[in-house]
């Protein structure tokens, strides 16, 4: 942070000028309200127009190659862009409106896809025209993902897929889905898996939303009954899907480290203000409840430590954005800190932190309750807290593998 790079500062001016004329001021600071669901509210023409402009410029996917419709920016320039987005309360809606397209599918496609596959799929993600889901987990394959049973049969020019996936985020509104399927039932379980890309708009696919403890959720059960996909929608090598799929999960972890910005996240109500308002302060301005004050402080310190670690990991990678083992550490820290915050928040709210909906509760109080419940998933999805610890123990610390049996 010490020295400023003239090229970067020139880019900052360019980004600022473009945002000035392209970002509708009516949307400033409204990321949470507009992007709570999976798609932007239809009535928000400004939001739709903003998504279109950002996509056309390639800045919804700032570091992706320009030849496929990305922004072609360096990691450092992309950080500058995020800072400029945050500065005016702007946000990147494409991160949501493409489903898993930007955070996971795209980076994996760029790494493993053939030239044709990239040409076919990447530009649509960049322009925000396609929503991607992912079919990984199955009812009997959760943490032990490699035991998945959904199978794909080779029918010459296409694959036929049968089986059931679960926790398929946004499957009910998805256009495409990346699915891990078994293509060799006789091979050891990690060696018979392939990664297929499947068009969701076909009769062989049925989806059923799953209601979670926080109310509605983006998750679905997805049923494949003789669903079809062309042969050239195989991503990566045949029976090499475990490697491709694992790589994608690394991108998922990266997106769950808390390091992603440009989401307008900085503008939420501070937990300190909530604490003072609901708990009150003593004559010296200290939070009136000493026990809560100590625990709130401990949380704020952990949150700061997590933020400093993201900054350090980024600096140590010298701006070279890479998916590393550090993602497991950061993901566990991120879920711990977020869940700690959510618990503290409803505790601070007292009785007002018990509402479900309707009269008697402010919007932010209801959001706190729903967020608290929904957030329990953070330490489960994307490889649970315990799975991350397995990864840290094995890949970073070099301890013996404990989950390879079978």
């Amino acid at each position: 942070m010490a020295e400023t790079d003239p090229a970067l500062e020139a880019f900052r001016a360019e980004a600022r000028a473009w945002l000035e004329e392209s970002f509708p001021p009516s949307l400033a600071g409204r990321a949470a309200a507009l992007m709570g669901g999976e798609s932007i509210a239809a009535a928000e023409t400004d939001a739709i127009e903003w998504a279109r402009r950002l996509g056309a410029r390639g800045w919804g996917t700032p570091t992706w190659p320009a030849e496929y419709g990305g922004g072609g920016l360096s990691q450092l320039a992309a950080q500058v862009l995020n800072q400029e987005l945050d500065r005016i309360g702007a946000f990147n809606p494409l991160i949501r409106t493409t489903g898993m397209g930007i955070t996971m599918v795209g980076p994996t496609l760029l790494e493993y896809g053939s030239e044709e596959q990239k040409q076919r799929h990447i530009p649509k993600i960049c322009r925000g025209e396609v929503f991607w889901a992912l079919g990984y987990s199955e009812p009997n394959a959760g943490s032990d993902l490699a035991s998945l049973q959904t199978r794909a049969e080779d029918r010459g020019d296409h694959w036929v897929v049968n089986g059931q996936k679960t926790w398929t985020s946004g499957a009910d509104i998805a256009d495409w889905c990346g699915v891990l399927v078994r293509t060799d039932p006789d091979a050891p379980k990690r060696d018979g898996i392939s990664f297929l890309m499947i068009d969701m708009h076909q009769p062989g696919i049925e989806t059923r939303p799953i209601r979670l403890i926080g109310g509605a959720s983006p998750f679905c059960e997805t049923f494949f009954n003789d669903a079809r996909t062309p042969k050239d929608e195989l991503l990566g090598p045949l029976n090499g899907g475990w490697t491709v799929g694992k790589r994608l999960l690394q991108h998922e972890r990266q997106s769950q480290t808390g390091a992603t910005s440009g989401m307008g996240g900085g503008r939420r109500r501070s937990i300190r203000d909530v604490a003072k308002e609901y708990v009150g302060v003593d004559a010296e301005g200290r939070l009136a409840d000493a026990d809560l004050r100590a625990r709130l402080t401990d949380h704020l310190m952990s949150a700061r430590a997590h933020a400093l670690t993201i900054a350090r990991v980024t600096a140590e990678a010298r701006g070279n954005h890479q998916v590393g083992a550090a993602a497991s550490i950061l993901k566990n820290a991120a879920s711990t800190v977020a869940q700690q915050r959510a618990e503290l928040l409803i505790e601070l709210l007292g009785h007002q932190g018990l509402g479900w909906d309707g009269e008697g509760y402010a919007d932010h109080e209801l959001e706190a309750v729903r967020g608290w419940l929904t957030g329990k998933a953070m330490s489960i999805y994307g490889g649970s807290f315990e799975i991350q610890n397995n990864i840290i123990a094995k890949n970073i610390l070099g301890l013996p593998e404990t989950t390879q049996r079978g």
Binding site: M1, A2, R272, A275, K276, G285, R286, L287, R293, A294, L296, T297, D298, L300, M301, S302, R304, A305, H306, L308, T309, A311, R312, T314, A315, E316, R318, A326, I329, N332, A333, E386, Q388, N389, N390, I392, A393, K394, I396, L397, G398, L399, P400, E401, T402
Partner: protein, 378 residues
């Protein structure tokens, strides 16, 4: 935030190798068993002086090398790994900072070059009761015709046995608990009326209790501004706390490495115990804590180097997070080693004892959580 510079990386390697080869835990143990009352080995301290480490935060004009706090932290961390006992933190960081921040030209000239070469040990005498509480300073500094007269006591003064001079927090106004009315004085170790009592602590380093029985000081002994030493004291302490964060991180990192090594080699039930998830997950959790603590430690040192306004909360963050991790890690060091960890012959006990001593110095985790909250206004 930045990764270490090339120079810092080189120094880290140099300090690591030197501590491992020349000042390892075995040497600390030897010092403990020899009944050395000073609390550190003279040859070790002389070598540190020769390498210039005692002058890392001292400007070149006063004989230092002026490489900053992150650099000092890098060295302290490596020495912490081997439990190397020396006055580097007490004198080279805290004593030196007191003079750099509060000293007048004559005081700087008189002491900084000697601190830098390691020929003088200058340490801070702040606490009087059993807990760190700088605002509770009660040691009385009464005005006299020529200067001041000090009466009172100081407890658990770091390197208090070997110190050639003390930076003493005293009260020239107000009452214990007041932020104003604190002044700092530079008191030579052989001053009349100053008594010191060596303390035998579990950690075997050189702590002493001091008694001031009418110690007469000239006006020139005042360090900084009369009655307004509270802020200066806080700034000096923060430098010490940031250094302690680094040293604690080193002690904890070594404890982690020792434990991980044991997990990979100890065989029970027919396999290495690190393959048991109950232990592997604890190791993963400790590693995660260590990474978070490291970020806080480096951020505090960098904030001091940058003169950032954020330095005070970051120093408390560093002391608290490194302290929490060290506390947890030192207990796990014993527990995961089982019976062998309980023996005096094995080093785990030495790490545990050092851990608690460092945690308590210049404010434990509870102190720094409270301070962090106050600085944040909650």
């Amino acid at each position: 935030m930045a990764a270490l510079s090339e120079e810092q990386t080189l120094l880290k390697e140099q300090a690591k190798a030197w501590a491992r080869d020349e000042a390892p835990v075995a040497k600390f143990r030897e010092m403990r068993d020899s009944g050395n009352e000073r609390g550190f080995d003279k040859g070790t301290w002389a070598a540190i002086g020769e390498m210039g480490w005692a002058g890392i935060v001292i400007p070149e004009a006063y004989g230092g090398v002026d490489l900053g706090f992150l650099t000092m932290g890098v060295v302290l961390e490596e020495l912490g790994r081997q439990l190397t006992a020396s006055p580097l933190l007490a004198s080279g960081l805290v004593g030196a900072s007191a003079l750099v921040l509060g000293g007048d030209e004559a005081q700087k000239q008189a002491w900084l070059p000697r601190i830098a070469e390691g020929s003088a040990v200058v340490t801070l005498a702040v606490d009087e009761g059993p807990r760190h509480a700088p605002l509770r300073t009660g040691l009385a500094a009464e005005k006299t015709a020529g200067g001041f007269r000090l009466r009172g006591r100081k407890g658990h003064v770091l390197e208090g046995v070997a110190a050639d001079a003390f930076v003493v927090a005293a009260r020239t106004g107000g009452a214990p608990g007041d932020a104003s009315g604190i002044s700092l004085f530079l008191v030579e170790g052989d001053a009349r009326g100053l008594g010191r009592q060596r303390l035998a602590t579990a950690d075997s380093r050189g702590y002493a209790n001091l008694r001031f029985e009418g110690v007469e000081l000239p006006r020139a002994a005042l360090l900084g501004v009369e009655d307004e030493g509270g802020r200066l004291l806080d700034a000096i302490l923060d430098r010490g706390r940031a250094g302690l964060g680094a040293e604690m991180l080193g002690v904890a990192a070594q404890s982690f490495d020792m434990t991980l090594d044991y997990l990979k080699n100890r065989v029970q039930f027919g396999s290495v115990i690190g393959g048991f998830q109950a232990l592997g997950h604890r190791a993963a959790g400790l590693f995660t804590e260590m990474e978070m603590a490291r970020s806080c430690v480096e951020a505090a040192l960098q904030a001091l180097d940058a003169g950032s306004e954020d330095a005070a909360p970051l120093c408390s963050l560093s002391k608290a997070k490194a302290g929490d991790f060290l506390h947890h890690m030192s207990n796990e060091l014993i527990q995961m080693h089982g019976g062998i960890g309980m023996t005096d012959e094995f080093d785990a006990g030495l790490y545990l004892k050092r851990a608690r001593a460092l945690e308590a110095t210049f404010g434990n985790q509870a102190f720094h959580r409270d301070r962090y909250a106050t600085l944040l206004g909650i």
